[in-house]
């Protein structure tokens, strides 16, 4: 039988049992009644002891959300979501708002251990050079269970905590920056998030400070029928630098779970934010049953002169991905970058890309997007590059490549390019290729097994993006890509 035919048959029989993070943690949780009303919003706000202004802000968002309709312009198909059939908050009962790790439910600690995320500082420290340490904020369903290395970071003036804590402890910063990049009514999912967001991370790097370690947040959705509404806000003050990494997993469940996040980044003069994501939500099974619906609004504002924001993402999970991490290049001479690898297999659907909005003078941006589609999946790159009429000297370079494995998957590239100044230089390159039977035979003739040949070709394809990830995560991401494509060839 021909190799490509075998590939197709393998893909047909693929069972996404390779998803190794699909276990469920048994914990007692505290949650409100199903459904979404003003009372739900009040419940969430009350659970978090929020000040009155925050509750008002949420209620305002909720009222606006009720007047909005779900967008349908993306190339993804899913049955209508019943927003009244979801839980909007779930928090482990035991050790709510723990003061230390000892108060955290051991089942949760065990979960993170299984996921390979050590939360005890002494465990993290064992055998790790100081410059390679990573501070972690662990978010379990709707709450942040622990944030590591807080003390040490505080010595450098860095604030790294859950957004709930920031609302209590640093209201002036939250008030100043929250929704300043993604307005409350930006889009349907962002508005929903504004009403019911539960937890996420808050980072503030003061003027001139280079954050002494990598920061990361690890999101885990555990509860059934529960939406996770992550809200993250990162501010790098003048001349500051921070590298932040986000990781995500969820149990295997038959029902779809909703993840509607909002992430806002603000970089002031000469500041730099590097934001990396390794997204490995449960992708659903072979028939497309279950999996996470990932509707995410991520946007960075290069507010200051010569500021820089770069997004790097490796996306292997989710049943549906709807996500466009973007940069507003407001400050003169600012720079935005977007590096992305989107792997889809089985029945996954991806509509993802970026927006680079050039507003300031001499702003530059770069987009490198690599899509790999296997199985019956469908992957769309959607990207916008625009230059305001005052954005003289704006430059963009875009490269989107798609690699197809088998002949039942699809890859699409939809670029939008708008230049309102004649001085803008925008370049766009795109390719679509397929791992051919002849290419496979050539590699095998040299002694590589089919699996090795695919891995080699795929790694060659994504190398440019993997190089942007912090070293230890690049290795993880490479493994993840290989696992996601396991069984996609005979």
């Amino acid at each position: 039988m021909a190799a490509v035919q075998e590939t197709i048959d393998q893909v047909k029989s693929i069972d996404v049992t390779e998803y190794k993070y699909g276990f469920v943690t048994e914990v007692e949780v505290d949650k409100p009644a199903k459904g979404l009303t003003e009372d739900t919003v009040r419940y969430i706000s009350a659970r978090k002891n929020e000040p009155e202004w925050m509750l008002e802000w949420r209620l305002d968002a909720f009222r606006r959300w009720k007047t909005m309709t779900e967008p349908n312009w993306s190339r993804v198909n899913y049955p209508p979501i019943d927003y009244q059939d979801l839980y909007y908050y779930a928090a482990p009962k035991k050790g709510a708002s723990p003061k230390s790790l000892d108060e955290v439910d051991p089942a949760i600690l065990e979960t993170y251990k299984k996921l390979g995320i050590p939360l005890r500082e002494q465990e993290i420290l064992a055998g790790v050079a100081p410059e390679n340490r990573v501070a972690v904020d662990a978010v379990f369903d709707s709450v942040s269970v622990v944030t590591t290395f807080k003390k040490e970071l505080a010595q450098a003036g860095v604030i790294f905590c859950s957004i709930s804590e920031a609302i209590q402890e640093h209201p002036e910063l939250v008030k100043k920056y929250l929704a300043s990049v993604v307005p409350v009514t930006d889009n349907y999912f962002a508005t929903l998030n504004s009403a019911v967001f539960t937890d996420g991370s808050f980072v503030y790097i003061p003027k001139g400070v280079r954050c002494p370690m990598e920061l990361s947040t690890y999101f885990r959705i555990n509860e059934q029928n529960t939406g996770q509404f992550e809200r993250t806000l990162i501010i790098a003050d003048e001349g500051a630098y921070v590298s932040y990494l986000e990781g995500c997993t969820a149990p295997k469940r038959d029902e779809n779970q909703l993840h509607a996040a909002v992430v806002e980044l603000i970089a002031l003069d000469d500041a730099e934010i590097k934001y990396s994501t390794v997204q490995n939500w449960f992708p659903g099974d072979a028939e497309g049953k279950g999996g996470i619906y990932n509707f995410v609004t991520k946007r960075g504002d290069c507010r200051g002169k010569r500021s820089k924001i770069s997004w790097t993402q490796v996306e292997t999970g989710s049943a549906i991905t709807w996500k466009y991490p973007s940069c507003i290049l407001r400050g003169d001479g600012s720079r935005g970058e977007f590096y992305s690898i989107a792997v889809s297999n089985g029945m996954q659907q991806v509509d993802s890309g970026t927006k680079m909005l050039h507003l300031g003078k001499n702003t530059t941006s770069k987009i490198i997007a690599k899509g790999i589609a296997a199985g019956k999946s469908d992957s769309t790159y959607r990207g916008m590059v625009s230059a305001h009429r005052k954005a003289t000297g704006a430059r963009n370079f875009t490269n989107c490549d798609s690699l197809l494995i088998g002949d039942q998957c699809g890859a699409h590239t939809i670029p939008y390019i708008e230049a309102k100044t004649a001085t803008a230089v925008f370049e766009h390159e795109a390719t679509t290729s397929k791992i051919g039977e002849d290419q496979m035979f050539y590699c095998q003739q040299r002694g590589l097994s089919e699996e090795e040949a695919v891995a080699l070709i795929v790694n060659g394809f994504v190398k440019e993006v993997l190089q942007q990830l912090p070293m230890e995560f690049a290795v993880e991401a490479q493994k993840l890509i290989t696992i996601s494509l396991e069984g996609s060839v005979g």
Binding site: A2, Q444, Q445, L456, V462
Partner: protein, 250 residues
């Protein structure tokens, strides 16, 4: 030693039979040439030996040193010592030539139960082999065969042949698309690998390659069979008389 006995092969999914009871032996240390008109099944023979999946073997056997290779996958055959220099080498975008070479060498070593090559040893071997073939270092850093000229691609095939050190080398129309200088370099590369423990099967339509790689035996193939066998003078005779008497369509 390669022994092919009564090989009958058709294209998978089609009724078209290409090889019709072919018999051929290539001894260790022997350079055997196969010449024949277009469509006589020469390239098919090379693919079937190497294990390409587009064909179905209906009858016969192929033995490498007494072992039946028809039971093996293409990569297992490679590890057992079969190397095919392609008529049209494939491009592997994004994979540096060095990376590809190392992956291939280590995959074969692994299959044979040998330890992986140490990087310094690997680099030494590659550099020495590349120098002999006049392959520049910067070419080894470029993605394999991407944007290479016809001559560069063929030299790269011989480089791989040298590094993988196979016991049975098959060259499929290696002279096609080469100018005379490139042909000479490639032929020298092949001649340097001639060894009493290694067999060669040189497939070509034209005699000119055999001026540079002088064969011990020449086989004429027609309609999926070996129809005549002789010494190197047979090639010269074919050059003069053409394949007309072997059924090439005019």
């Amino acid at each position: 030693m390669l022994e092919i006995r009564n090989l009958v092969v058709k294209i998978a999914d089609e009724d078209k039979q290409i090889l019709n009871g072919l018999n051929l032996t290539v001894n260790d240390g022997e350079v055997a040439a196969i010449m024949g008109p277009n469509g006589s099944g020469k390239s098919t023979l090379s693919y079937v030996i190497a294990g390409k999946e587009d064909y179905e073997v209906l009858e016969g056997e192929i033995l490498l040193n007494g072992e039946n290779v028809l039971e093996m996958e293409a990569d297992q055959r490679a590890a057992a010592g079969i190397f095919l220099a392609f008529q049209y080498p494939l491009e592997i975008p994004g994979v540096a030539t060095m990376t590809f070479l190392k992956a291939a060498m280590n995959a074969q070593r692994k299959a044979r139960g040998e330890a992986e090559l140490l990087t310094p040893d690997f680099i030494k071997q590659v550099n020495a082999a590349a120098d002999k073939l006049g392959i520049a270092k910067d070419m080894l850093r470029r993605p394999l065969n991407v944007g290479f000229s016809g001559g560069e691609k063929k030299r790269m095939e011989i480089l791989q042949m040298a590094l993988l050190s196979p016991s049975m080398c098959i060259l499929d129309e290696t002279d096609s698309g080469l100018d005379i200088d490139a042909l000479r370099i490639v032929a020298e590369g092949v001649n340097a690998l001639r060894d009493k423990s290694r067999g060669f099967l040189v497939i070509t339509h034209y005699q000119r390659l055999l001026d540079h790689i002088v064969p011990d035996t020449v086989h004429v193939m027609s309609q999926g069979k070996i129809v005549r066998t002789g010494g190197k003078e047979l090639a010269l005779e074919l050059e003069k008389s053409g394949y007309a008497s072997y059924g090439e369509a005019a």
